[in-house]
């Protein structure tokens, strides 16, 4: 009798165990499939997208020039360095370039958000909003290029330590000029030289 009970218990245990294992294995299979099925993001290599963003950054500069009233206050913003020395740039590796670009984009994003708080002129505000969304899109594009740069988080507050890669500007027009230069320069060079895109072209 006891042996029967024991046997039944053992059977129950065994069956439950096997059920569990089966379930786990099925899940594992699914996970494996899922992992394999997930293909990397298709790289966005068309530079016309970036050209579009560059044009919109220039539009903001134009609106800024023509803005009368509610155009922001004199405030200091920390922005990336935009200068590109081709000789130096060519010698920098892609990942380094990617990091530089990513950091710069987040700095710009932060600065533009801060600037928007002080702007009441509606065309300028909408242009700035446009620029901010473009910067987010650029982040996505960079991600699609799979440059394996460290995903830098947006710095939470204004107290950004002045690193070697930043400069300080004191007004919104200057900020917009920096944005324009950054997009046309470093971001564009990185996108045009991205390995993912080169592979496509060749």
């Amino acid at each position: 009798m006891g042996s029967v009970a024991e046997r039944s218990k053992a059977l129950d245990l065994g069956s439950s165990l096997s059920g569990g294992v089966g379930l786990v294995s099925v899940l594992m299979v699914f996970v494996w499939l899922g992992e394999n099925q997930v293909s990397p993001l298709r790289p966005i290599c068309d530079l016309r997208v970036l050209d579009h963003f560059v044009r919109e950054a220039r539009d903001s500069e134009v609106i800024m020039r023509g803005c009368r009233g509610g155009c922001g206050v004199m405030k200091s913003y920390f922005v990336p360095l935009t200068s590109v020395d081709f000789a130096v740039w060519e010698h920098t590796d892609v990942h380094g370039q990617a990091v530089e670009v990513q950091t710069g984009l987040s700095l710009l994003d932060q600065a533009l958000n801060n600037a928007m708080k002080t702007v009441s002129n509606s065309p300028l505000a909408s242009a700035l909003e446009n620029n901010i969304s473009n910067i987010h899109s650029l982040g996505q594009i960079l991600h699609s290029l799979d440059l394996q740069q460290a995903r830098s988080t947006v710095l939470p507050d204004d107290s950004v330590p002045a690193s070697a890669q930043t400069q300080e500007v004191s007004s919104l027009p200057e900020l917009l000029q920096v944005q324009s230069s950054f997009l046309r320069g470093k971001v564009r060079l990185l996108l045009s030289a991205a390995p993912a895109c080169q592979r496509q072209n060749s």
């Binding site: 530079l47 050209d51 200068s83 020395d85 046309r184 320069g185 470093k186 564009r188 060079l189």
Partner: protein
Amino acid sequence: MRNDRLKIVFVLCLAFVSTGGQHLESKVAQLLQDKAEDIKCFVEGKDLTCFWEEEEERNNLHDQYTFTYSYENKKKMACVVSSLSLLASNKTVFFCKLPKTPFFTTLVVQVYRDAQMLYSRSLNAENFLFLDPPRNLTVTNSGKEGQLNVSWLPPPLKYMDDSLIYEVRYAMEGSNMGKVEVIKVSTMLVLLGLQSDTRYKVWVRVKPDGVAYKGYWSAWTEPVFGVTPPGDMDPLIVVLVLFIGLILCLLSLTVILSHHKFLLKKLWPDIPTPEHKFPGLFTVYKGDFKEWMSQNNGSIWGRSVHVYAEELPSPLEVLSEVSLTGHATSQREERKPVEEEEEKESERSDSRLTDRWREPPHAHWLMEQLRALQDNPESLSQSSLLQSHDTYVTLNQGDNERQDDDVFEETVPLQTLFTTAGTSSLSTSRSDLGSLQQSSGSGRLSSQSSFEYPNHTWPPKGPGYAYMAVADSGVSMDYSPMSSSRIAELGKHRMYTNDYKNDIFPHKWPLSGQHIKSGSGSCTGTVW
């Protein structure tokens, strides 16, 4: 050996410098015309070059000039100043080529002379690209008429291949008027719409497209010649066209021939003759109409002619007799309404008029009466006939009305007529009128009702027409216009010729030739 090598190197260096110099010189020469800035800068390759003209006749010592540049709040950096003599314009310029040009940032360049700032300029280097012209321009014959294929290579650049814009200029050999085509990114173009068998010159130049990089137009390339293929009429097409033309001609000829009679009739129609109406007139009787008529008396055509020769009988209903010698009576067809009318008249007649009327008339007297009536329209208004509360249809021809300025009450809208009348009288004078229709001034019967005219006037109209007040007991009548002689005969009756339909008594007019017009109810009346 070393000397030889050094010499070779030196020669090569010289060659390089001279070519570079050539390039520089040409670019400088081109930009000299730009008067906007004192310091003119451009980027050649990856380096920024800024130059300025020599001020006045100085000692030409370029040592005195100091060129500095800075960016991103960094400290100023110096650049070595060189001089260049332009042979073409016999000028001297000083220039400086930056060793490491930073792009995408604001550069501040300054020129000092003897520690005094001469010029200062702030610019972004990527906005002043001055590219070399495109290379390897080729013009080939595409084989198609009026077309040429043009292709070239972009200047040697990195990172900028996809942001260049080209301009292709082409002109016929010997002519200076050229057309320009702008093309983006692509390095080939097909020229269309050219003249056949002509020699064309083609040039190309390049510029950054202005999104990421901006700059000046490069110099034009050296012209390259191309000849368009000779235009020829494809022989097959010519043959086909001729063939089709021939077929069309034959077809049209066939059509014309087959229908030539029809066409002839349309284009050259016969003059119509009345021969078919007169059978045998021209053939048998040789145009003698009388003879032909006598022979053909029994034909339908002859009879119809005969009929129209007579005057149509015109029925007339006489309402009141002026005791004429039977002229009126002979024409009267209904006794009953006339009698009725007579009774009514006798009841309410004005003595004057009725007396007049009861006198034995003769034509002369009648005419006098008519004249009197014409002279005194007011008297007429008091006539028994008018004052009678019978329903009268007063009709008059529209034309005649216009002759008279008096407002004929017929022309007054019906409503006013009704309002002037007493309400009671509307009902009393109801005879068994059927579909009597009332005229409303323009000679048309418009409504079906009995009505009365209490004080209407009956202004005399021009001679030749007469009105007759008709008390219609539902009889459809048809009167023809009367001539004045007939009016004289009938007396002072106002005669109406009216056509209106009456369904009830259609049989009262069994006349041939009379037409009972239905529906329209148009009354044409004649009035004194």
